[in-house]
């Protein structure tokens, strides 16, 4: 991590930074670039955020732009929305993304519908740490992205690398629509990657091919993207070449990249840490049935978490979550078709 009180960048060349630092840099640089950008949330100011994603921002930008709030998620989202009506671009932090459910009505009924109904865009970003694998238990490990993917008017981003996290968060802040930005907390300090020194963005709604292959396509995002890559390496050793695609944005979904790959490999495995029923894998399976049915040599296969709340004990959570072994096994099975 670069110094918390620095300018957000630590040199003129591409440097290795953590996923967490990528988030911090994106916010820092956007606040520096545009005084309309402000940060609002619980403990984001003096404390610098529960995970320190906003460390140093209050010192630099002051009390009016880094706003510590009471524990009132609906008020945070509502106020951010109201601010956006006067042209501001608030970033609203949910301390853990699980708590976004406390503001569900405000997001899905107020924020999401404004542009469609009365021509009122709400350029706000709602971001926070999500995901399991850190033994956070049932209320600090959630992947609630699909509640929002089902809500027209929102955009939903879930990156897997520091480069994408920084570039996509910048795009989200500059976007005129409400964007939900999920940050997998397992990656915060474990995941490092290079970011260029200059200002850059990553487009919303574009998936990326992480590994090319011809036998099957593995679609994933966030932490499971890395497990999928590991599984693909292991499959490669057995002569199965998996193409791995990182979805990055779940709404709008990059159908073009998905269809292009599946039409080439004829097999598709979708991997996500979200629970199975109503997960994005089901939606993708439906899209493939509608638009690439004739190309499929085998069933669209899902590797997901179990349809249960996230359990606390490591033995239980390990069983609940998908992992490299499960992906490997499912891919091997699918490759037989």
């Amino acid at each position: 991590m670069s110094t918390p009180h620095g300018n957000g960048r630590s040199g003129s060349e591409a440097t290795q930074i953590t996923f967490l630092e990528a988030i911090r840099q994106a916010m820092f640089e956007e606040m520096q670039r545009d005084p309309a950008v402000i940060l609002i949330g619980e403990d984001v100011g003096v404390y610098g955020g529960a995970f320190k994603t906003s460390e140093g921002l209050l010192e630099k930008f002051g009390w009016e732009r880094v706003i510590d709030t009471p524990i009132s998620e609906s008020a945070i989202i509502g106020a951010a929305c109201g601010m956006s009506y006067l042209g501001l671009r608030p970033i609203a932090e949910m301390q853990f993304i699980d708590f976004i459910m406390c503001a569900f009505n405000q997001i899905t009924n107020f924020v999401a519908k404004g542009h469609y109904l009365w021509n009122a865009p709400a350029p706000i970003v709602i971001r926070g740490p999500s995901g399991g694998g850190v033994h956070g238990g049932p209320f600090h490990s959630a992947n609630p992205e699909m509640y929002f993917v089902h809500t027209p008017g929102l955009k939903v981003i879930y990156p897997s690398t520091p480069y994408d996290a920084k570039g996509l968060l910048k795009s989200a802040i500059r976007d005129n629509n409400p964007v939900l930005f999920f940050e997998h907390k397992f990656l915060y300090r474990r995941m490092k990657g290079e970011v260029p020194p200059e200002d850059y963005t990553v487009p919303i709604g574009k998936a990326v091919v992480r590994r090319e292959g011809r036998h099957l396509t593995i679609l994933s995002y966030a932490a499971m993207m890395h497990s999928s890559m590991e599984a693909a390496e292991a499959l490669g050793a057995e002569g199965i070449e998996a193409e791995v695609i990182d979805l990055r944005t779940l709404l709008p979904l990059d159908e073009e990249t998905i269809l292009q790959s599946v039409k080439k490999t004829n097999r598709c495995l979708v991997v996500h840490e979200d629970t199975k029923t109503g997960g994005i894998a089901g939606e993708i399976a439906a899209i493939l049935c509608e638009k690439a049915f004739g190309y499929l040599d085998g069933p669209v296969t899902r590797v997901t978490a179990l349809d249960t709340p996230v359990p606390y004990a490591p033995t239980l959570e390990d069983h609940f979550l998908p992992n490299t072994k499960k992906i490997f096994a499912a891919a091997k099975e699918l490759a037989k078709y």
Binding site: Q32, P35, A36, I38, G45, V46, G48, L58, E59, K60, F61, G62, W63, E64, R65, I67, T69, P70, S72, E73, S74, A75, I76, I77, G78, A79, A80, C81, G82, M83, S84, Y85, L86, G87, L88, R89, P90, N105, Q106, N109, F110, K113, G114, H115, Y116, L117, W118, N119, A120, P121, P123, P152, G153, K155, N176, N177
Partner: protein, 419 residues
């Protein structure tokens, strides 16, 4: 009705109350002719609140109406045709048929935020509007309304509490019309004056007779001035009565006859006409002129609305997302130097200053705050600081961690024994 208004102000209040009622009368006719697509919600008997409160706002101020605040919309500058067309789902309506009733807004010119049906959500939204106005240096006040029913929602409390902590220039009108659909206020809230809620947030409040339009206006004007001056949010409870049912379908048979009779005798327009007559501001001729003016206006507005087409079916597919600058150029209007909110001038020291406790980040510093449960060194520090105070007592008043733990154990032991 103590503070004197100008003749123009008195007559404006009268005109808008009459217009408010006439617009709603016209809509009842449209409803009976099946020209209104959905429900119709009346503000009959509450016109004094909508008109008197909104009239205290300046052009630059922001408002978000509730379903019954047609009068507030008219005062802010919305044309009657827009209200008619919204209800008739016409293509020329502000939402082009995508939503009905008073669910529309205007960010650019009139500064109106659209309500949604979920009550209370506007309170944090308008808090945010008022905070953004302050941040940009615009010196605006934001206002919204809530009913006695909506004051029981969680977001009412979240929003008002947050507005209070932010000292936001925000005025909330709590329209107590005694009924939430079929439930009387006494079965919703165990306090007599809903304005008492303000005490819990440490903000100022008023109670006003909602059927006295001049009192409503004077009270709101004072509140708006105070909010604009930086005194923080203000809650006004305006007491009135919902004379129609929840909506047109509801005959409201649950309302006691005497209650209805009492309030019908206190019609805000009739009360105000009496006042204007006594003050020699209105005579039969003047009244007739206003009536004819409104009648002519509404005839043409209604004609325009009826002639507007329904939206084409495919229009349903459009407009979910803003597509960028060509769709909306989102630029804040700065009325203060941007340098004040950008580094280096925006730099602050990232510590809380807590009244009476100096400042410090941890609990180990010499000036650190004393918490319940602090022991040893901190308790001594507290003792020595208490000695400095005129009524300083011994440290025994500060519970030690051990004592606190004991008492918790005792308490939980007791609860285990209870059935």
């Amino acid at each position: 009705m103590k503070k004197k208004l100008t003749r123009q102000q008195y007559m404006d209040l009268y005109y808008y109350m009459r217009l408010n009622r006439a617009v709603e009368d016209t809509m009842v006719k449209l409803f009976r002719q099946n020209k209104i697509v959905g429900g119709l919600y009346a503000s009959l008997g509450q016109e004094g609140i909508s008109v008197g409160t909104a009239y205290a706002l300046e052009k630059k101020d922001w408002m978000a109406p509730m379903i019954r605040n047609i009068g507030a919309l008219l005062v802010k500058g919305v044309r009657p045709r827009d209200v008619f067309m919204q209800h008739m789902a016409k293509y020329d309506s502000p939402t082009k048929g995508k939503d009905g009733t008073s669910h529309f807004g205007d960010l650019e010119n009139l500064h109106i935020v659209s309500p949604i049906s979920m009550l209370g959500d506007l309170i944090p939204v308008m808090t945010g509007v008022s905070m953004a106005g302050r941040y940009l240096g615009q010196k605006i006040v934001a206002m919204t309304w809530i009913g006695d029913g909506g004051s029981s929602t969680g977001v009412f409390h979240e929003g008002l509490n947050f507005a209070a902590t932010q000292k936001a220039p925000f005025v909330l009108i709590l329209e107590n019309n005694l009924w939430a659909y079929s439930t009387p206020v006494s079965r919703q809230v165990p306090v007599k004056d809903l304005a008492d809620r303000a005490k819990a947030y440490g903000i100022a409040s008023y109670v006003v007779d909602g059927n006295d339009v001049v009192a409503v206006y004077n009270t709101t004007q004072e509140a708006v001035d105070r909010a604009r001056a930086g005194e923080g949010p203000i809650l006004i409870e305006a007491k009135s009565f919902r004379r129609m049912g929840h909506a047109q379908h509801d005959p409201a048979e649950y309302v006691p006859k005497e209650m209805r009779a009492y309030w019908e005798a206190r019609d805000p327009i009739l009360l105000y006409e009496k006042f204007l007559t006594v003050e020699k501001l209105l005579d039969a001729k003047g009244k007739k002129e206003i009536e004819e003016k409104i009648e002519a206006l509404l005839a043409s507005e209604r004609e325009f609305a009826e002639n507007s087409p329904m939206p084409p079916a495919e229009f349903a597919e459009t407009g979910v997302y803003c597509t960028g600058d060509e769709c909306h150029k989102i630029r804040p209007r700065w009325e203060r130097p941007i340098a004040e909110v950008t580094p280096p001038r925006s730099r602050v020291s990232a510590v809380w200053t807590v009244a009476g406790f100096g400042k410090g980040k941890g609990s180990g510093g010499a000036n650190a705050p004393i918490h319940f449960g602090d022991s040893g060194q901190q308790a001594e520090a507290a003792q020595s600081s208490q000695k400095l105070s005129p009524n300083g007592k011994s440290s025994s008043s500060i519970p030690s961690f051990k004592k606190a733990k004991d008492s918790i154990q005792r308490a939980s032991g007791k609860s285990r024994r209870s059935p």
